[in-house]
């Protein structure tokens, strides 16, 4: 992210103000909540008590990270109008929620699930399937968290004009995040998400306002300019790009919906009513977030023509610089923008960290390492492991990988492989643990190796989606090939779920 032309003092003031607000919210969230230190459901799921406002904003602030702004605007700049796909794939996430969340919510409440793995264990009764799901989730969460840490450092140093160096900025906000998460668990995360979600919405709004101001609101003229200078970014995309567009809708739709922190928000909903109302509004949020960022990226084509891929990554910083230079009013708005970006990154990182802690403490420590441990001890282990994981990821974050978007795709390649076990398992009695395990393993290995080898996409279809196809085929055909079982074991869950 490029550095703003204004000095760092006002940026630092905004960041300090945000940090203080987050800490105050975290303090009160922990103080007023019974069981936050002694119960895994209290700490990791806010006692299943998230109401409409908190649930909506925690869904929103978690699903949209800082990358949705600083990574997607350059993507729109490079891809042109084809990046409208970002609006569609964000809606697809909510559509995929509707495939499994209604039923999973009922079962999770009845069976008192804490982590997504609880459902897998309940459904398949298989240790190897549960552990593989936990490993894939941990991989996805760690990668997701790493991306947020990298973005956080770049955002903070950009906002403060490098007054706050990259490393110091990240450590400061990580400490703030760990402190309020420690004090209030999921409730603190969700309540800070309200403030962070509003900050993101304001930030994106002012970025759009500033961008349109720079082109004097002339959208038609903007298109004509792009037609004249970069026609390949405005015309109907070629077949491979369109296939990729459709693939991303499927890959991100399924991948993001089965993210552990996404599923845990289904568990944490206070009621079905709050959950469905929150998701009904979430279906429209892509227009206000990735849709707006898309327009900003297209405006960038006119304002900053001919940027290389690496330079275009700085697009939001460059545009903010330009807008801030207009007058003091826009200068203040741009401070709000960067504050919003940082808030969005923190709100996504805290959710991923909490979810990661829950998988390690509940699924691995409480289940296999020390099954007799008290819930209070599991909560404590979760908190400490979270700190340790952050420390390791910070060391990796000092050497940020290439472009943010590439990391984003890489995590979906693997996390999406848990979707068949999760979703098909809800509805299809005959789905069996063995084929599910081998399908998931084959799909993950295929997608991982393909990506690591740096192979090209097959006609625009990402390796994760090909792996998902292999995964699904093995799970489904293998289950059909196995003899039917009529005992009350692993095949009974969907029927029991439907029976309520």
């Amino acid at each position: 992210m490029g550095n703003l032309s204004f000095g760092g003092t006002s940026g630092i003031l905004v960041l300090v103000a945000y940090a203080v607000i987050m800490l105050v919210i975290g303090y009160f969230a922990g103080r007023e909540q019974p069981g936050v230190r002694t119960s895994v459901r209290g700490y990791f799921l806010a006692g299943r008590g998230l109401g409409f406002v908190a649930l909506f904003f925690t869904l929103y602030a978690t699903q949209y990270s800082g990358n949705s702004v600083i990574g997607y605007a350059p993507e729109a700049y490079r891809s042109g109008f084809a990046w409208w796909q970002s609006v569609m794939f964000m809606i697809a996430v909510i559509a995929v929620y509707l495939v499994f969340a209604p039923r999973l919510y009922v079962i999770a409440k009845r069976e008192s699930f804490v982590t997504p793995t609880d459902w897998i264990r309940h459904r398949f009764g298989s240790t190897r399937v549960s552990i593989l799901v936990a490993i894939l989730m941990l991989w996805g969460l760690a990668n997701y968290l790493l991306e947020q840490l990298v973005a956080m450092g770049q955002g903070i140093s950009g906002l403060t004009g490098n007054t706050v160096p990259y490393q110091i900025g990240v450590i400061a906000f990580v400490l703030v995040m760990l402190t309020y998460s420690w004090m209030g668990g999921m409730r603190a995360v969700a309540l800070t998400d309200i403030m962070q979600g509003i900050a993101l919405l304001i930030g994106v709004g002012v970025l759009l306002f500033g961008s349109l101001y720079l082109i004097e609101g002339d959208i038609g003229g903007l298109t004509q300019h792009v037609v004249a200078t970069a026609p390949e970014k405005v015309g109907v995309p070629d077949m491979e790009t369109s296939v990729n567009w459709l693939s991303m809708i499927v890959l991100i739709g399924f991948g993001a919906a089965v993210y552990p922190h996404a599923i845990q928000r289904v568990y944490a909903a206070r009621s079905e009513r709050t959950l469905k109302r929150s998701l009904a509004i979430m279906a429209w949020m892509p227009f206000l977030t990735t849709g707006v960022v898309f327009v900003v990226g297209i405006v960038g084509i006119k304002l900053f023509p001919g940027l290389s891929e690496a330079s275009s990554e700085q697009l939001v910083g460059m545009m903010a610089n330009e807008v801030a230079g207009i007058n003091i009013f826009f200068y203040l708005l741009m401070i709000l923008l960067f504050g919003g970006v940082i808030a969005a990154i923190v709100s996504t990182a805290d959710s991923a960290l909490l979810s990661l802690s829950s998988v390690i403490s509940h699924d691995l420590y409480g289940r296999y390492i020390n099954p007799r441990s008290s819930e209070q001890r599991q909560v404590l282990v979760g908190k400490l492991v979270g700190i340790a994981v952050i420390a390791v990821l910070l060391l990796i974050a000092w050497n940020p990988p290439t472009t943010l978007y590439n990391i984003f795709v890489l995590k979906f390649e693997l996390i999406v492989q848990i979707a068949p076990a999760f979703i098909l398992g809800l509805y299809w009695d005959r789905l069996r643990a063995g084929p599910v395990f081998w399908g998931m393993l084959a799909g993950a290995l295929f997608a991982g190796v393909w990506t690591v080898m740096g192979e090209e996409e097959l006609y625009g279809v990402p390796a994760g989606l090909l792996g998902l196809g292999i995964n699904l085929a093995i799970a489904a055909l293998g289950s059909v090939a196995m003899p039917r079982r009529h005992d009350a074991g692993e095949t009974s869950a969907p029927a029991k779920a439907a029976a309520g």
């Binding site: 796909q85 569609m88 509707l98 209604p102 309540l191 390949e232 109907v236 369109s242 469905k276």
Partner: protein, 94 residues
């Protein structure tokens, strides 16, 4: 949530036609079927294919939102009744 005893029980997955319509909307919103590279005609200064895609994206969001509100009702009545009876929810709900 015994469906036989409660005709209000609804689950999105049980309306297959909705998912067929949704798949068609998503396909229509993806410019797979249009000739590559073509920009014109422009509608309000925007390429026609983009207008088509935006239209179907709005339809996608509308259908998804409608599914949430109108085709999802598994335990709401029971939960609301329990909440009214005083055994549901927590005191700090927002």
């Amino acid at each position: 949530m015994d469906q036989r005893h409660d005709e209000h029980v609804r689950e999105p997955i049980r309306s297959p036609w909705v998912w067929v319509v949704m798949a068609l909307i998503v396909l229509a919103g993806t410019p797979l079927y249009l000739p590559a590279g073509v920009v014109e005609p422009l509608v309000f200064g925007i390429p026609y294919w983009m207008v088509v895609s935006v239209f179907f994206t709005i339809a996608f969001a509308a259908l998804t939102s409608w599914l949430c509100l109108r085709r999802w009702n598994l335990v709401e009545q029971r939960e609301e009744a329990a909440a009214e009876a005083g055994d549901g929810g927590t005191s700090w709900e927002i």
